[in-house]
């Protein structure tokens, strides 16, 4: 009887262990099943590279949204990556352990602030500021980039800090013993040794920024147009899905799932790169 229970437990557990992988496959299958046939029907080229998005008239070009997502994500990285990496280096290399033990958890705690709250602050504080000082409607590429840049900070800092912390102390001591200043040992030795982890943190943050939806809807302005200035409003891929989901049916809904397919594929590629970078970093230790 006891042996029996044992094999039942093992059997059930081995089934349960599939839950995450199975969910991932289920998600992929359903997004592709809804979206991919549509892409073939409209033509992959037309879907990705035509500039007119007008579901009522049967025109489904997501090119402006692709450009918008790229701009906003790139802008977010311009802000979030240097700030985050600088923070991680400073906390690890120039602050006493005791201070770092307070600041790091504080920043990680802030990772929990819901994205809608960031979006709201963007609308109430940032957009009016941009409108008053730089012109345009305020809700813009710039506003979205800044909000997303701030939102990805905890991701960049947390993962980079771990990577820098994992660099053996003997590396630093070696550099210092050779007469290097602290900063020389940081940029000639520590940063090089932690490189893969730092790169991974930026790529993961990129995936976050690209996939963020609600905050972006609130601050980006949502106009389907290729932007010509950082103060122009844009609509990202994610915003397009969320904005039109509630009243889309038939072809129009399929188009949103096809947008989801594009997003899914790009983010999976980014994650795969980040994961192999982290693995590389772990293997070298």
């Amino acid at each position: 009887m006891k042996l029996n229970g044992e094999s039942v437990a093992k059997g059930v557990l081995s089934l349960v262990a599939f839950s995450a992988l199975a969910s991932l496959l289920l998600i992929a299958v359903f997004i592709f099943k809804e979206g991919f046939p549509f892409m073939l029907k409209v033509g992959v080229n037309d879907f990705l590279f035509s500039s007119t998005w007008n579901p009522q008239a049967g025109q489904y070009g997501i090119y402006p949204m692709i450009v918008a997502s790229l701009y906003v994500t790139f802008g977010a990285m311009l802000i979030g990556a240097p700030l985050g990496i600088a923070g991680a280096i400073f906390m690890n290399e120039f602050l006493p352990r005791s201070v770092m033990r307070i600041i790091k958890p504080t920043i990680e705690l802030l990772a929990g602030i819901p994205s809608v709250v960031f979006g709201f602050l963007g609308v109430m504080v940032l957009a009016p500021f941009i409108r008053a000082h730089l012109g345009g409607p305020g809700l813009s590429v710039l506003a979205a980039s800044i909000i997303l840049g701030v939102m990805v900070l905890p991701t960049v800092i947390s993962i980079s800090t771990d990577a820098i912390g994992a660099v053996p102390n003997s590396y630093r001591e070696g550099a210092l013993a050779l007469g290097a200043t602290r900063w020389q040992s940081v940029y000639m030795v520590t940063i090089k040794a932690a490189r893969s982890g730092i790169i991974a943190s930026v790529i993961l943050a990129m995936g976050r920024a690209l996939g963020e939806t609600m905050a972006v809807i609130m601050v980006a302005g949502n106009t389907v147009k290729i932007p010509h200035a950082v103060t122009d409003p844009v609509r990202t891929l994610t915003a397009n899905i969320a904005l039109e989901m509630s009243n889309a049916t038939g072809m129009a809904r399929e188009a949103l799932f096809a947008t989801g397919v594009v997003l899914f594929v790009v983010i999976m590629i980014l994650n795969a790169i980040a994961m192999s970078a982290i693995k590389g970093a772990g293997g070298r230790k």
């Binding site: 081995s14 359903f30 929990g112 504080v125 989801g260």
Partner: protein, 279 residues
């Protein structure tokens, strides 16, 4: 002109320090700003009454109920799956192709943006399984979303249980499953609970995946097949449709306080757990 190493050192410290300070200031500003604007509106009446006129006035009581029920249901679904997965990975197999595939799946799932979860939950639970926008559709979607968090934290917690504990249990004649139930899981409990709390925190702050699966009804739910509106969704609707900035700020204040408190509890628990194990 070459900058001398000493000057470079001073410059670097100044620039890096300024960047760190800026980061902290911005993040703290977000919290303080929302609390200052929102807290005056948070009264007992605001918390305990239903919204009037789509949220223009009145309180947020039904959304509080939704915010409690949805994550709890999601965790109830995700916890057995997540802990089961991590027990299987740590206690029942060695590292091989198969476990690598499972781990890869978990990592990928963790990277999927919430809007994709929303799309999937909508087409699968709401439309295909004909469950409609409801508590259960939302909870199932959120369960998949927090599954990677629960798997990772419980795996770490289980791995931290010293092998000697297991060996003693085996030497007393216990089977593997008995050892898991009576020795491994009780000792890993604080770590597992940390994962649960983190999952709850993430669920409370989530909007995109919830709005397309649980809907946004303001009525009180009576069964799991009723639609609910969480605080995040309510806040999003108030802010986005410009219904009431005042109530939006107050809702945001309640939301931020809940999420920060929850994360704080998770963090302290994790710390205690690590400190205990390190001894």
């Amino acid at each position: 002109m070459r900058i001398s190493p000493k000057v470079a050192q001073i410059l670097a410290v100044a620039v890096l320090g300024a960047a760190t300070l800026l980061t902290l200031v911005v993040l703290v500003f977000v919290i303080v700003f929302v609390l200052v604007k929102g807290l005056p509106g948070v009264t007992w009446q605001f918390l305990s009454t239903a919204p009037l006129d789509m949220g223009k006035s009145g309180g947020i009581f039904p959304t509080l109920v939704g915010t409690v029920l949805l994550p709890l249901l999601a965790i109830a679904i995700a916890l057995p799956l997540g802990v089961g997965t991590s027990v299987y990975l740590t206690e029942y197999t060695r590292e091989n192709r198969f476990t690598q595939a499972l781990r890869f799946g978990t990592d990928c799932l963790a990277g999927i943006p919430s809007i994709i979860f929303g799309l999937f939950g909508f087409i699968f639970f709401v439309v295909m399984l004909r469950m409609g926008w409801c508590l259960l559709s939302g909870a199932l979607t959120l369960a998949i979303m927090v599954l990677p968090t629960i798997i990772r934290t419980s795996e770490e917690a289980i791995r931290a249980v010293p092998n000697a504990y297991r060996e003693v249990s085996f030497s007393l004649g216990a089977t593997r499953w008995e050892t898991v139930l009576r020795v491994v899981l009780p000792n890993a409990l604080p770590g597992i609970v940390t994962g649960v709390i983190l999952g709850i925190g993430r669920s409370i702050g989530e909007t995109a995946a919830v709005i397309f699966t649980a809907g946004s009804s303001l009525r009180m739910p009576t069964t799991v097949f009723d639609s609910v509106r969480t605080m995040s969704v309510h806040f999003y609707i108030l802010a986005r449709e410009g219904i009431s900035n005042e109530n939006a700020y107050a809702t945001a204040a309640v939301l931020i306080i809940s999420v920060l408190l929850i994360n704080l509890v998770a963090y302290t628990m994790m710390h205690r757990f690590i400190a205990k194990r390190a001894k």
